[in-house]
């Protein structure tokens, strides 16, 4: 386990350098290095203003999605839980499409609308899942998430059909996920925003261990199940909503990475959450790099790459867990 941890720690700088070095524009390693250290170098604009913030943002988003997935899986005691199960993707899609269909002017309109849509969907799901006695029931949560997500997706499709079809087809491309909109500004906003939710999740690690045994058992062992559930729900929703607003819907990170880390490290969240954060970050950076370098200058949507890579990975993980 020591070895794995060291390897993971090393993977971070290696991946970052690799990602900054590769892209739709071929740059020699020397040019990349010069771009990093010298503001006046010709490659500096690309390396510093475009690639570096993009790579760092992908890392943060990947980490956020990873730990959100891990925490949600503990919350609903279901290994198939994924940050988008709570109706988030439907709500975000609806927000984005609405912003485009009603021609909101600001350049930040789509991300903000996606965020609002995601949060709205999550609030609705929460409302549906709170049963009598104000307890949050995880089974109802999952069902409500599916239902709200499906409804939002249906409304989104209706809007697309009823309005300007070509523009909205492009809106769907945005939803498929991509870091094309990354900048130092976007990175700063996301990083600042994510600090508190991430810290709160890390702090809930032990409560999550207990919650995974069942709520009653968790309370007998000293956890405040209701408080933990609400905290996890709110923080993962906020993190995932911000991710969608930043870069569209990128699946499989929140589903596959926690599983792999449980196998490679431990299901105990004090180890799982940090490992998932770093692994999720590395995974998403690699996926984004692949999306940018496979068919230059074309970019594939990152969500497509994570699915293409994630599904076989998931299959392998499944076989190993069942073995």
């Amino acid at each position: 386990m020591r070895v794995r941890t060291v390897l993971l720690a090393l993977a971070v700088p290696v991946t970052v350098l690799l990602a900054v070095g590769l892209g739709s524009v071929p740059l020699a390693p020397g040019a990349v290095w010069r771009g990093l250290i010298d503001a006046g170098a010709p490659s500096a604009v690309i390396v510093r203003d475009l690639r570096l913030p993009r790579v760092l943002l992908a890392f943060l988003v990947g980490g956020g999605l990873g730990i959100s997935g891990a925490a949600l899986q503990a919350l609903v005691r279901n290994p198939l839980a994924d940050p988008y199960l709570l109706g988030l993707s439907g709500g975000a899609g609806l927000g984005a499409v609405a912003a485009i269909a009603f021609r909101a002017g600001s350049p930040w309109a789509v991300p903000i609308a996606a965020f609002v849509g995601a949060v709205g969907a999550v609030a609705l799901v929460y409302r549906l899942a709170v049963v009598s006695g104000r307890r949050l029931d995880p089974r109802v949560l999952l069902l409500a998430g599916v239902v709200v997500g499906a409804f939002a997706a249906a409304v989104m499709s209706a809007i697309i059909v009823l309005s300007d079809a070509p523009t909205l087809r492009n809106a769907l491309l945005w939803l498929l996920g991509g870091f094309g909109g990354a900048s130092w500004q976007a990175l700063g906003i996301f990083a600042l925003y994510a600090v508190i939710p991430v810290a709160l999740l890390f702090r809930s690690a032990r409560s999550l261990d207990l919650l995974a045994l069942g709520e009653e058992t968790a309370e007998y062992l000293g956890a405040d199940a209701e408080r933990t559930k609400r905290l996890v729900y709110v923080t993962t929703s906020l993190l995932t909503a911000a991710s969608v607003a930043t870069c569209g819907i990128i699946g499989f990170v929140g589903l596959v990475v926690p599983h792999g880390c449980r196998l490679a490290w431990s299901p105990l969240h004090r180890r799982l959450l940090p490992a998932t954060f770093v692994t999720g970050g590395v995974f998403l950076v690699l996926a984004d790099t692949l999306a940018r370098s496979v068919l230059p200058p074309l970019e594939l949507p990152v969500g497509v790459v994570t699915a293409l890579v994630g599904v076989p990975l998931f299959a392998i993980l499944l076989r190993r867990t069942l073995a």
Partner: protein, 267 residues
């Protein structure tokens, strides 16, 4: 540490009748209290109410000299160790990690586990004769082993009160007896013990006092001899029984077969 109930009355929301009705008893250190009764008599509800998971309609549950509501979850878990009837193992841990969960109430969210915690875990495993299981995964254990590990976890909490809910369901004779012997030892060392069980005969042999519940009410309370009365049991369980004696003093319940009814053989 004394655990008490005073006129505890609980009604589940929307239920036609009360799940618990005026239950009063004391569980004291050095004594093993067995709570029995037919299915649906409110045994597990009593546990939940005692631990503050359910708000009573009236009456109080006391842990030590304070009502259970005044205890925080973590503080309560440092004092009362519960082995619940059921729990989930969606993400299986190693036995050592599972028992360490019992230390969480003492560690809190931030502090790292130290030597003292690891020793408490080792002692708990040794007490439950589960040391060789330490590195096994929890989903690879047999029923008896799994139960021992959960008891070890409760012991690792270093509680003053130990509560077990139906601990011998699905255990064979050997494991049943081992478990009850262990609980008896712990109680003799000074713990307050409560066992919720269907096993009237095991309760009679190991417990100091018994509580018989029926439809949420305490029908009989006292020593096994006082509680295990043929008529009362026949009425409560709605099945005719005979009471025999083991070793001259311990009452044992013998449910009668159809062909054996009407036989006036007793004692």
């Amino acid at each position: 540490m004394i655990l008490s109930a005073r006129s505890l009355t609980v009604r589940y929301p929307g239920a036609p009748r009360q799940a618990l009705d005026g239950v009063t008893f004391d569980a004291v250190p050095g004594q093993l209290l067995a709570i029995t009764g037919p299915n649906g008599s409110g045994k597990t509800t009593l546990l939940r109410a005692l631990m503050g998971l359910i708000r009573p309609e009236s009456g109080t549950a006391l842990v030590g000299d304070r009502t259970v509501e005044t205890w925080g979850r973590e503080a309560l878990a440092r004092v009362v160790g519960v082995v619940p009837q059921r729990e989930e193992t969606v993400f299986p841990l190693r036995v050592r990690e599972m028992v360490m969960l019992g230390r969480y109430a003492r560690l809190g969210p931030v502090a790292a586990a130290g030597a003292a915690d690891r020793e408490a875990v080792a002692r708990a495993l040794a007490r439950c004769d589960a040391t060789e299981l330490a590195d096994r995964r929890v989903d690879e254990l047999s029923g008896g082993e799994w139960q021992r590990v959960r008891v070890a976890r409760a012991i690792a909490q270093e509680p003053r009160v130990l509560i077990l809910d139906e601990p011998t369901a699905s255990l064979d004779v050997r494991h049943e007896m081992e478990l009850f012997e262990l609980v008896r030892e712990l109680v003799d060392d000074g713990l307050t013990g409560i066992v919720i069980t269907h096993e009237l005969n095991l309760a009679a042999r190991f417990a100091d006092r018994m509580l018989l519940l029926d439809q949420g009410r305490v029908v009989r309370a006292g020593t096994p001899v006082e509680v295990l009365d043929r008529e009362v049991l026949g009425r409560v369980f709605r099945w005719p029984v005979a009471i025999t004696t083991w070793n001259g003093t311990v009452p044992q319940v013998m449910p009668l077969r159809q062909s054996e009814r009407g036989d006036s053989r007793t004692e």
